[in-house]
Symmetry: C2
Subunit: 202 residues, 2 copies
Amino acid sequence: MAGRGSYAKGLAKREEILRSALEVFSRQGYRGTSLRELAKAVNLSQAGILHYFDSKEQLFAEILRKRDELDGARYAETDEAAHALVAVMRHNAEVPGLVQLYANISAAATEADHPAHDYFVRRYDGMRRMFADSIRTQQTAGQFPAELDADMIATVMIATADGMQVQWMLDPERDMSDHLEYLWSLLSGIHQPDRRPSESAQ
Amino acid sequence: MAGRGSYAKGLAKREEILRSALEVFSRQGYRGTSLRELAKAVNLSQAGILHYFDSKEQLFAEILRKRDELDGARYAETDEAAHALVAVMRHNAEVPGLVQLYANISAAATEADHPAHDYFVRRYDGMRRMFADSIRTQQTAGQFPAELDADMIATVMIATADGMQVQWMLDPERDMSDHLEYLWSLLSGIHQPDRRPSESAQ
DNA sequence: GTCTATAAGTCGATAGAC
DNA sequence: GTCTATCGACTTATAGAC
């Protein structure tokens, strides 16, 4: 069952490259990074990396998947999606290179035939659904205005998070999580002006 | 004063290239476009284009500047920034290639030494200021909740617009301007729950 | 002012030694 | 499993003919 050992070792090395790459990007940023640069950073030759990954784009897509996985694990205990998003944003401010990598790849993956296109489509779909579900739960619990459209709010919150990252990178003084938290607090505090406390109005 | 004619002609040709490129991008999109492709599309050789623009990046930055100029002219009559933004979004849905170009270049310009970095820093700064001013005007006129932070709202609205573009490109069914309009209507409808109509409370 | 031709470089990917 | 070496494609930018 343990195989010839090489399989498990290969997987471990893959993982190591992924983590290494993730850390390298966090620190020194994504500057249209070539495989050669990345290889140097993880102490391997360019050919060495391609022994583990089929292509550059596949590697990049997996780096982002890995990031999502780590973020997901880190904030798994948070049941409120909005708070988790704010927490992720606060964390992102510590890893500017990753934010940059993400912005660049998500823009590129916009093209229909980009290798990571499907991944991003599914990713946003999943995030929206998760977020909207969390909102609906809060709504039934009376912790969030029931008249707001959960799907649209989820979409807008995620869009704001993405957009804030660009503005933050261009102006690091601006606090991403503050803005997101402010928006969420405003939405949470909304109450319908045209409905009376009593149901017997009119 | 008219010079030898060549100066004015050169400017006109520059303008023509810019407009052509803008239209090409609107239609067929930005696929890591090379100068050669773009040259072919505007009926010029690659070297011919570089006769008018110093480099590829400079050309791309000027294309976006041109777009801003046209958008600005088109919605100049709108005094409410939010409505102008919604209108621009509605227009953007007709020019997916441009939206893609914008997403890619703004992500790339995030890098401090990118040729268009300063342009984007100034652009966002200007947009935020303009938007916030418009909000403050509405606030004094009593047309927007006075207790909301104009600068933060402006920032968030712009961020939402940017983020919606990515989600729309990955899922064209989603209507960017609808989401933006919805968010704006929610914010506009906020009224403070803890302030009484009368000033003499407490 | 616009072209062809090409310089000079980088990239991802592959082949093959070890 | 990791390397060196190299291929071939493609890039921007330049030189120089017309």
